[in-house]
C-alpha cells in the first residue's frame, strides 16, 4: 500500500484521530488534493453540491466519506510516485505547498477568496510530478539513464501541456482549469485573470523562498505582476515579509 494510503487508512481507523489530521493530509499533497476534488465531484460521491475547495470537501463529506475518498485516492496515487526520482518529487511538492500557502497570503491581502487561491497554488504545477512519473516509467522501461538537467528540461517542456490536460480531464473547478493553464500568461487568461496573476505571483514567491540564492529581492519586487494586482511597494514588501510564516506553514503541512 502506498505510504499516503496507509496513513489515511490508519487515520480513519484510529478512534483517537481527528478530522483535522485528515484535513491536513488532503491539504498537503497535490495528488491527493486533485483526486479528492475529482472523486468527491464524481457521480458516486456527489451529494449535490459541487466541491470546489478542500475546505468544502472536509465540511461537506465529513470524516467517513472523506476517509473513503482519500483512501481511494491514495491507493491510486502511485500516479505521482516516480521510483528513482523521489527527491525531485519531494522538491516539487514543497514548491507546490509553498505556492499554495503564499497564494493564501496574496488573496488575504487582496481580500479575495483565500481557499480558492490555495488550490490554485497547490495545483498550478500538477503537470510536473506527472511528467516526472512518466519519465521514471519510460526510463525504467527503456533502461535509460537521464541526468538531472535533462529531466528538468523535459519537465519544463511538457508539464504545462500535461497540467492543462489533467485539469480538464479531471474536471477540476473552472478556476483551477484556467489558472493552471494561464498562470504564466495571466494577462491573456480568458477569465479568472486576477486569480491567474495571483497564481503566477504565488509560484514566483515560492521559488524565491525555496531557492533564495537564485533571486535578487530588488529585482523580484519589480515583477509587473505586483502592479497588475495593484500591490504598491509596501504591499509587496509585506508579502515578502510573510516568508517565514509561509515556510512554517509549509513545514507543518509536509507529510
Amino acid at each position: 500500500m502506498p505510504r499516503v494510503a496507509s496513513k489515511v487508512f490508519t487515520l480513519t481507523n484510529d478512534p483517537n484521530s481527528e478530522v483535522s489530521d485528515l484535513s491536513k493530509l488532503i491539504h498537503s499533497d497535490q495528488s491527493i488534493a486533485s483526486h479528492v476534488l475529482r472523486i468527491a465531484n464524481s457521480a458516486a460521491y456527489g451529494g449535490g453540491e459541487q466541491i470546489v475547495s478542500l475546505q468544502q470537501a472536509v465540511t461537506c463529506l465529513g470524516m467517513n466519506l472523506l476517509g473513503e475518498v482519500a483512501i481511494a485516492v491514495s491507493v491510486q496515487s502511485d500516479l505521482f510516485k516516480a521510483p528513482g526520482f523521489e527527491a525531485q518529487i519531494t522538491q516539487l511538492l514543497r514548491h507546490a505547498l509553498a505556492s499554495a500557502s503564499y497564494g493564501k497570503e496574496i488573496s488575504r491581502k487582496r481580500r479575495r477568496n483565500v481557499e480558492g487561491q490555495f488550490l490554485c497554488g497547490l495545483l498550478h504545477s500538477v503537470g510536473k510530478p506527472i511528467t516526472v512519473q512518466l519519465i521514471s516509467t519510460i526510463t525504467k522501461e527503456k533502461d535509460l539513464e537521464l541526468d538531472k538537467k535533462s529531466v528538468a528540461q523535459l519537465v519544463g517542456a511538457f508539464h504545462r501541456k500535461i497540467a492543462a490536460k489533467v485539469a480538464v480531464d479531471w474536471k477540476l473547478p473552472e478556476q483551477l482549469q484556467v489558472t493552471t493553464i494561464y498562470y504564466k500568461r495571466y494577462e491573456s487568461a480568458p477569465s479568472f485573470r486576477e486569480e491567474s496573476a495571483a497564481t503566477y505571483l504565488s509560484q514566483l514567491l515560492a521559488s524565491w523562498i525555496i531557492n533564495p540564492a537564485n533571486f535578487k529581492v530588488n529585482e523580484l519586487i519589480k515583477d509587473p505582476v505586483f502592479g497588475f494586482l495593484n500591490f504598491y511597494p509596501d504591499d509587496a514588501e509585506d508579502l515578502l515579509n510573510k516568508k517565514d510564516h509561509v515556510k512554517t506553514m509549509v513545514s507543518a503541512m509536509e507529510i
Binding site: 481527528e18 478530522v19 453540491e49 475546505q55 472536509v58 465540511t59 481580500r111 480558492g116 495593484n230 504598491y232
Partner: protein, 485 residues
C-alpha cells in the same frame, strides 16, 4: 518640491462622494484631478458594497420567485451552484458600470490619476504610483473622499478564508451550509437575510435585543419574522466570548449566554472605520474623531481652509446617497454658490429581504416631542392590491402624523420596494403636507403607493374618532389613546 501639474481642485477617492465632487466642480468650470489608489474607479460602493450586495440580492430574489411558483416554472437549483454563478452578472454589471463612469469622467475633462495620495499642505497632494515613484499636484481646493473600510475587533481574527468581512464575503466560491453573522446593523441584516434566502443556515447575533435597532420596532419585527421563517436565527442581547476557527471545518463562537454556535463561515459586520491612514492628516494638525472620522463643519470644510472632506470618511450616516450630496455641497461652498437649503431629511434604506426604509421621525421621537398629540396610521400590505398581486402580503407602512395639524412627521416601511416607496413620504414631509394629500389626489392603482392612501385614511378615521369622543377621565383617555395609536 516639484509640482507636476496645477489644478483648481484635487479630489482624493473615486467613490460616489469623490465622483460627484469632481463632476460638480468641472460643471462649474474648474480644472479637476481625481485620484484613486485602485486602478478602477467606483470605490466601496461599486467594488465591495452597494452594487455587489444588491446584485447578489437580485439573484436571491429571482431564485425565490422561481421557487415560489413551481406550477409556472419547472425550476430546480443547479446542483453545482456556486456563489460565483450567482454573481456572474456582477462582473458584467461592474465592468459596464466602471467603464461608464470612467468614460463619463474623462468626457467631462477630469484627469484621473492612479496612485496613493497624501496631503503635503493645504494646496499640495503627493501622489505615489504603483512603482513607488512620487510626484506632486497642486490645487486651490482639495476634497478628501477616501471612504471607509470594515472595522475588525482586535479579538476576532478575520482571515478572509473562514472568518470574512463585508469586503471579502462575496469572494466565497461556494455557498456555505451555515453562516454566523456578528452584528445586527445594516450590512449584517442585509447579508444575513440574503444568504438565508439562498438556503444557508444563518445565525445572527448582536448586543441589541433586535436587529436594526434604530428602525421602528414594528418594522424590524416583520423583518425578523421573515428572516426566521426562512430558517434564519437571531440571538439578541448576546456578546461573544470567543470566536475561533477550529482548524478543520468550523468557526466556533461562544456567547456570553452560554450558547455555542458552529458554522462553516462567519461574517464580521461590526461597523466601519474611516480610510485616513497615510493621508498625512496628523502633520496638518487635524485630529481625528470616532472611528477615525475627519471632523468637518456644516460646509464639509475641515479645520484648514480649502480642505474639505465628504462621504464615509467623515463618519455616519455612511451612505452612498449622502456622500454624493455632501460632495456637491462642498463644491458649492468652495465656489461661494448656493447649495440650496440644508438637507434635514435623510431616508434610511436597508436592502435586506424584505427591504426596510424610513424617513422623518420615529414613534418614540414623536412622542418625546409631541406627547400624545400624534396619530399613527398603518397600512398592512395584505390590504394593498399590488401587495397581494406581488405576494408581499406581510409588509407594513406606518405613518406618523401630528394630531393637531395632521402634518406627516415620519414614514416607516417594510416590504419589497420600500426603498423606492419611501420617497413619496419624503416628498410629502419636505412639502409640509398633511395626510389629506394622499386622499385628495390621485395615485396609480394598483401600486404599492396605495399603502399611503390606506395609512392616511387610517389616520383620518382615528382623528375623526378622537374629535367625536366625549371628554373622559384622564385614565380612560390614556387607555383609549393607546388603543387608537
Amino acid at each position: 518640491m516639484n509640482i507636476e501639474e496645477e489644478f483648481d481642485l484635487i479630489v482624493i477617492g473615486s467613490g460616489p462622494g469623490g465622483q460627484k465632487t469632481a463632476i460638480q466642480a468641472t460643471n462649474a468650470g474648474l480644472k479637476v484631478a481625481l485620484i484613486d489608489r485602485e486602478r478602477k474607479v467606483g470605490g466601496t460602493c461599486v467594488h465591495h458594497g452597494t452594487i455587489p450586495s444588491k446584485t447578489l440580492r437580485e439573484a436571491a430574489l429571482t431564485i425565490t420567485t422561481l421557487r415560489r411558483n413551481p406550477d409556472v416554472f419547472d425550476f430546480k437549483l443547479k446542483d453545482d451552484m456556486e456563489v460565483s454563478t450567482l454573481m456572474k452578472r456582477l462582473d458584467s454589471v461592474l465592468g459596464s458600470y466602471t467603464d461608464f463612469i470612467s468614460e463619463y469622467l474623462t468626457s467631462q475633462g477630469i484627469s484621473y490619476f492612479h496612485g496613493r495620495a497624501s496631503i503635503s499642505d493645504a494646496n499640495t497632494v503627493s501622489l505615489t504610483t504603483l512603482k513607488g515613484s512620487s510626484s506632486f499636484l497642486s490645487a486651490k481646493y482639495i476634497v478628501i473622499a477616501t471612504g471607509s473600510k470594515p472595522r475588525t475587533p482586535s479579538d476576532i481574527e478575520v482571515d478572509h478564508e473562514n472568518i470574512l468581512d463585508s469586503d471579502s464575503i462575496l469572494s466565497m466560491i461556494y455557498l456555505p451550509r451555515s453562516l454566523t453573522v456578528v452584528g445586527g446593523g445594516v450590512i449584517a441584516s442585509e447579508y444575513a437575510s440574503i444568504f438565508s434566502l439562498l438556503g444557508v443556515k444563518v445565525t445572527m447575533f448582536d448586543r441589541t435585543s433586535r436587529p436594526l435597532i434604530f428602525m421602528e420596532p414594528e418594522c424590524t419585527e416583520k423583518f425578523l419574522n421573515h428572516f426566521t421563517k426562512n430558517g434564519g436565527e437571531y440571538i439578541g442581547e448576546a456578546k461573544y466570548e470567543s470566536i475561533k476557527w477550529d482548524s478543520v471545518s468550523q468557526v466556533i463562537t461562544k456567547l456570553d449566554n452560554g450558547t455555542v454556535i458552529s458554522s462553516d463561515k462567519m461574517l464580521v459586520a461590526q461597523g466601519r472605520i474611516a480610510n485616513t491612514q497615510g493621508l498625512g492628516l496628523e502633520d496638518l494638525g487635524i485630529e481625528l474623531g470616532r472611528n477615525g472620522a475627519i471632523p468637518v463643519d456644516d460646509n464639509y470644510q475641515t479645520s484648514i481652509e480649502g480642505l474639505y472632506a465628504v462621504g464615509d470618511v467623515i463618519g455616519p450616516p455612511s451612505l452612498a446617497s449622502v456622500s454624493m450630496e455632501q460632495g456637491r455641497r462642498a463644491i458649492c461652498h468652495a465656489l461661494g454658490t448656493d447649495p440650496g437649503s440644508k438637507f434635514e431629511l435623510v431616508p434610511n434604506g436597508i436592502y435586506a429581504v424584505p427591504e426596510l426604509s424610513s424617513v422623518g421621525i420615529s414613534e418614540d421621537q414623536a412622542r418625546e416631542k409631541y406627547g400624545n398629540d400624534i396619530i399613527i396610521g398603518r397600512a398592512s400590505f395584505d390590504e394593498v392590491a399590488r401587495g397581494q398581486i406581488a405576494g408581499f402580503k406581510d409588509g407594513l407602512l406606518k405613518m406618523i402624523a401630528d394630531s393637531k395639524t395632521l402634518k406627516i412627521l415620519g414614514v416607516h416601511v417594510v416590504a419589497e420596494g420600500a426603498t423606492d416607496l419611501i420617497h413619496v413620504g419624503e416628498m410629502a414631509i419636505l412639502n409640509n403636507n398633511d395626510v389629506r394629500v394622499f386622499l385628495e389626489n390621485v395615485m396609480n392603482f394598483p401600486t404599492l403607493g396605495e399603502a399611503y392612501r390606506i395609512a392616511a385614511l387610517n389616520i383620518i378615521t382615528k382623528h375623526a374618532e378622537r374629535l367625536a369622543r366625549k371628554p373622559e377621565s384622564r385614565i380612560q383617555n390614556l387607555i383609549e389613546q393607546a388603543e387608537l395609536n
